[in-house]
Structures are given as structure tokens and as C-alpha cells.
């Protein structure tokens, strides 16, 4: 009675529709910056944001006065005016926000790229600052007694946290596809191995074994502790500018080849249980636009940074972005496929949200830039395009970066 076909066509991932993208390779990331990652950092989110932006401008070799565009998460605590007052920016001509938490990261880059490509601004900064590791900051713990809106259909019954909501999809995914906890462990172990090489990763010194994964405590069955991302204080920023300003910087420009956002029919944020096929989430919608706007196909991509608030999002995203067929994402993770250096698709090469830091996925964007610069601590040889994705399970976004 309520098939998705009633709300719009479903195109195959990767289908070329012939549409040109006005931003293809028109803009580049020319600077990246970040603070340390940790728990209980003293500085405010605004201060952390300003420090990361200053570091990104230094990396680009740019003065604050060159910035005239600001692109940020709607959840950001430090707003445009405060950031501009601290960094001493001049006239700002583009400022905009993207919603839906972890789905926003590549979206804020996309918005900045659009603003630069259309001439609304010349150089934009985009950032995310977060103090997640403070227990008082957990949004799920700050609920009023009467729940309104979409959460009124799930929270009273004890789906309190994001992990409970994704665990529901994970159990269904296991049922439909034969995925097992071993597959989720493949994800956790691959990313931990990458973090062990990354001196900035929160889990750099902590090794993880399959045995430890299997023995860890449940958080929301079928998901255990190591299926969850970290809780992190920290901030990251990037500088985006046009081709004319992108050359002759301290580092080679990393081109924003394609960018897309996606919100599929009948989607509901996190509790996406009410559409015809909840396992075809926002990744599928985003991928349709991303590949159509690109010169590349999934087969061309040799390194990826895939949003990993929870391990099951990796197989779901591998399917959505077309690296394998429907139901094949878990099997894709076998034989070390996600592991640097020998896997077929080294993924989250800095450790990702599960083992480097969880800053709403923004660290995945910076790692994508490092891969294209050739400066990752798990550098994939001859990688010339990197997929970066934002949160699956919410209206989301993705980038294809190239060098």
C-alpha cells in the first residue's frame, strides 16, 4: 500500500543521467587544520573551532582577511558571528548551515564549493567543533518527560540512543543478508589497525583483537562496545577556494570533483523504520547524484572514508555507494578488504570515527585530503580519487576528492 514507487523513481547507483555539474573540479581544499583530540578539553567549542580554522588558514598560507565565506553544521555551538569576531574576518558574503548532525559534513563542504564556484564568495572555511566526551553533552540524555515529534514514536519504548536506533537496522540487515558479528568486527579491527599508525588518533596506542571484540559488553544487542564510535572533544576545519587561488599554495590543491546531498523518499531521521525498504538509506539517494555528477565509478575508487558512527553503517554504505550489490556489503569486508595496505578498498585510513576521533565525521574529510596529498599515515599508493561520506541513517552527503 505504501511502496516507494509512489514517491519517485529509483535509479541504479552509478547510472549516468547526462546532467552536468556546475561545480565539478571548480574548487579545491587548500588548507586543513585541527586541534588535538581528547576527553574533557578545557577550551569551549567556539575556541576549538577558532583554533582549527586558524590552523587550516596557516596550512593554506592564507590571511584571515581572505576569508569571505562560512559553512557550518546547524548544530555548531560557535555561530558565524562569533567565529568572525574571533578570527577578525572582514566582510562575509556567504554563510550557511547544514542540518542533521553527522549527515552534514560533506554537505557543508558542498555548500562552500557551490558558493565559491558561483562567485558568491572567494574563499570559504568549513568546520566542526564538538565536546562530545562530556557526559552532560549527550543529546539523548537531555530529554524532556513528554516527547514530541518523530521521536514520540520510538523513545518512550526505550529506543533512547542513536545506537539503539541503528541496532534495529543492523539486526534486520543481519537477518536479510546473513551478516554476522564477525563482519562488524572486520570493520572495527580494520579501523583500529589504521588508528594504531596515526599519532593523532585517540586509540593510537590501543590494539584491538577479534577475541576482545567478541567478549566486549553489549551496548544494544546486536551491537557491542566496539561497534560504536568514540566520544571526542576536538575541532577540524578546511579552507575551500577557487581554481585561481588554489595554485601556488603550500600544498597541492585537492579538488572537489563532485559533491552531493541525499534525502530519500519517506525517510525519517535515525528511526528510518517507516519506509518501504529502510535498508536502502540516504547513501543510496546521495550516490545516485554523486556518481551522475562525476567522471568516476566506484571501480575507480581505491581509498574511501566512510562515516562510521556504528560499524553496520559500513556494509550499508558500501552497498549504497555501489561498491557491491544489495546485501553484499558484509561479505565485502572479508579477507581484509578494508585494511591498508593490501585490501581492495582501504577505508577510514586514519582510524575513522571508531578509532581516530568522532567529530561528526569531519575528520574523515581531512583524511581524504591527506590521502590525496599523499600524507596519510596509511597512504594508499597511487590513489587519485577518494570517496568521503557523511552520516548514514540521516539526510546525508558525500564528496569525491581528487588530486
Amino acid at each position: 500500500m505504501m511502496g516507494d514507487s509512489a514517491f519517485g523513481p529509483r535509479l541504479r547507483t552509478g547510472m549516468k543521467t547526462g546532467m552536468a555539474s556546475g561545480i565539478r573540479d571548480q574548487t579545491a581544499i587548500v588548507g586543513i587544520g585541527q586541534t588535538a583530540f581528547g576527553k574533557g578539553l578545557e577550551d569551549s567549542e567556539l575556541s576549538l573551532a577558532c583554533q582549527a580554522i586558524r590552523a587550516a588558514l596557516d596550512d593554506a598560507g592564507m590571511a584571515a582577511a581572505e576569508v569571505d565565506g562560512l559553512s557550518l553544521f546547524s548544530m555548531e555551538d560557535g555561530r558565524e558571528v562569533e567565529v568572525a569576531r574571533n578570527l577578525g574576518f572582514g566582510d562575509i558574503h556567504y554563510f550557511g548551515q547544514v542540518g542533521y548532525g553527522g549527515g552534514a559534513g560533506c554537505g557543508v563542504i558542498a555548500h562552500a564549493a557551490m558558493a565559491v564556484a558561483t562567485g558568491q564568495c572567494n574563499t570559504a572555511v568549513a568546520w566542526r567543533a564538538r565536546k562530545r566526551a562530556d557526559a552532560g553533552s549527550r543529546p539523548w540524555a537531555q530529554v524532556s518527560q513528554r516527547i514530541s515529534g518523530f521521536q514520540s514514536w520510538s523513545r518512550p519504548f526505550g529506543l533512547l540512543r542513536p545506537v539503539d536506533e541503528i541496532a534495529m537496522l543492523a539486526r534486520r540487515y543481519m537477518h536479510e543478508t546473513g551478516a554476522t558479528r564477525d563482519h562488524f568486527a572486520n570493520v572495527a579491527l580494520a579501523f583500529r589497525g589504521h588508528a594504531n599508525r596515526n599519532p593523532n588518533a585517540m586509540m593510537q596506542a590501543k590494539e584491538l583483537t577479534r577475541e576482545a571484540y567478541m567478549k566486549s559488553r553489549w551496548i544494544s544487542e546486536p551491537l557491542c562496545l566496539f561497534d560504536n564510535c568514540l566520544e571526542t572533544d576536538g575541532a577540524l576545519a578546511v579552507v575551500i577556494t577557487g581554481a585561481d587561488r588554489a595554485r601556488d599554495r603550500r600544498s597541492s590543491p585537492v579538488w572537489i570533483h563532485a559533491a552531493a546531498q541525499g534525502l530519500p523518499p519517506q525517510h525519517q531521521v535515525m528511526t528510518n523504520f517507516f519506509c518501504e525498504d529502510p535498508l536502502q538509506g540516504p547513501a543510496w539517494a546521495t550516490a545516485r547524484k554523486l556518481w551522475a555528477a562525476s567522471d568516476f565509478t566506484p571501480a575507480d575508487v581505491k581509498v574511501a572514508q566512510i562515516y562510521d558512527a556504528f560499524s553496520p553503517l559500513i556494509p550499508l554504505s558500501l552497498e549504497g555507494y555501489g561498491f557491491c550489490g544489495r546485501g553484499e556489503g558484509a561479505a565485502f569486508t572479508e579477507d581484509g578488504a578494508l585494511e591498508w595496505p593490501h585490501g581492495r578498498l582501504p577505508t577510514n585510513t586514519s582510524g575513522g570515527g571508531m578509532s581516530e576521533a568522532y567529530v561528526h565525521g569531519f575528520n574523515l574529510i581531512l583524511e581524504g585530503v591527506r590521502q590525496m596529498r599523499g600524507t596519510s599515515t596509511a597512504q594508499v599508493e597511487n590513489a587519485d580519487v577518494c570517496l568521503v561520506t557523511s552520516g548514514e541513517g540521516v539526510p546525508t552527503s558525500a564528496l569525491l576528492l581528487r588530486n
Binding site: M1, M2, W218, I219, F274
Partner: protein, 145 residues
Amino acid sequence: MESSFLLPDTEDPVSAPFWEGTAVGELRVQACGECGRWRMPPRPMCPVCQSLETVWRPTSGQGHVWSYVRPHPPLLPAYAEVAPYDVAVVSLAEDPAIRFVGNLVTEASAPMNSLSEGHVAIGMEVRVVFPAPQEGVVLPRWSPA
């Protein structure tokens, strides 16, 4: 913090008829008054024909488990006390795309953790049951059919 369960806002005019139904032991679904399409969760406009005409239909209260989870602490205190407990997404017999989140329990008044591990499976048939009201609100629950 006082230990109590979260309750929905039952005064939102769009969804109030759902809660009026559970209060009298009826599981209702919102439907379009023009094309008849059922929709869940409730909303003002039909996504197929864009009509604002809304009616509420009684359902069989029969369904099957689409998926389920068992949350463990850390949780809000009231939930932590009964954890791990069973929460399912149930597909309605009349239309499997109409789904409800709810607790799986042995009977209407049983605690949220009353079904022992291994007694829940995707596909198991369940029926809606209605516990006593909490602060005037009846949260529908599901028991093995």
C-alpha cells in the same frame, strides 16, 4: 532525576487520535480521507495525493516482528532498571510497510524485560496489547500471538 519512563506528547492534534485509540484499547492508523492510503507516523498531508483530509482506521492489531534490539546501560534510570529489555519494530498484518516501535512482553502488564532471551525472532507473529495507563497515556505493546 526522578525515575520514570518517557511519555509521548498526546496533545499534538495530528497524532492525538492515535493515543485516544490506545486509551480505549484500539490500535488505529491514520489514513488519507481522499485516496485512502494508510500512513505511519501521522502527519498532516497525504504523501501520495497531497490531501489534507484525514481519517483514522481501526486495525487488526496483528503483525510480525520486523526487527528488534536489546538495549543495555548506560540508559536513563527508569530504563536502566529493567535493562536489557526488548524493543521491536512490528509490521502490521494489513500492510507490512505500516510499522510501529513497541516493547515485546509476555502479557499486557508484564515488565519490559519479561520475554527471556531466545524467545524473540524476526518474523514472529505478535498482537497488540494495552497496559494500564501511565499518567493517562497507554503505550501499545506487543505479545506473542
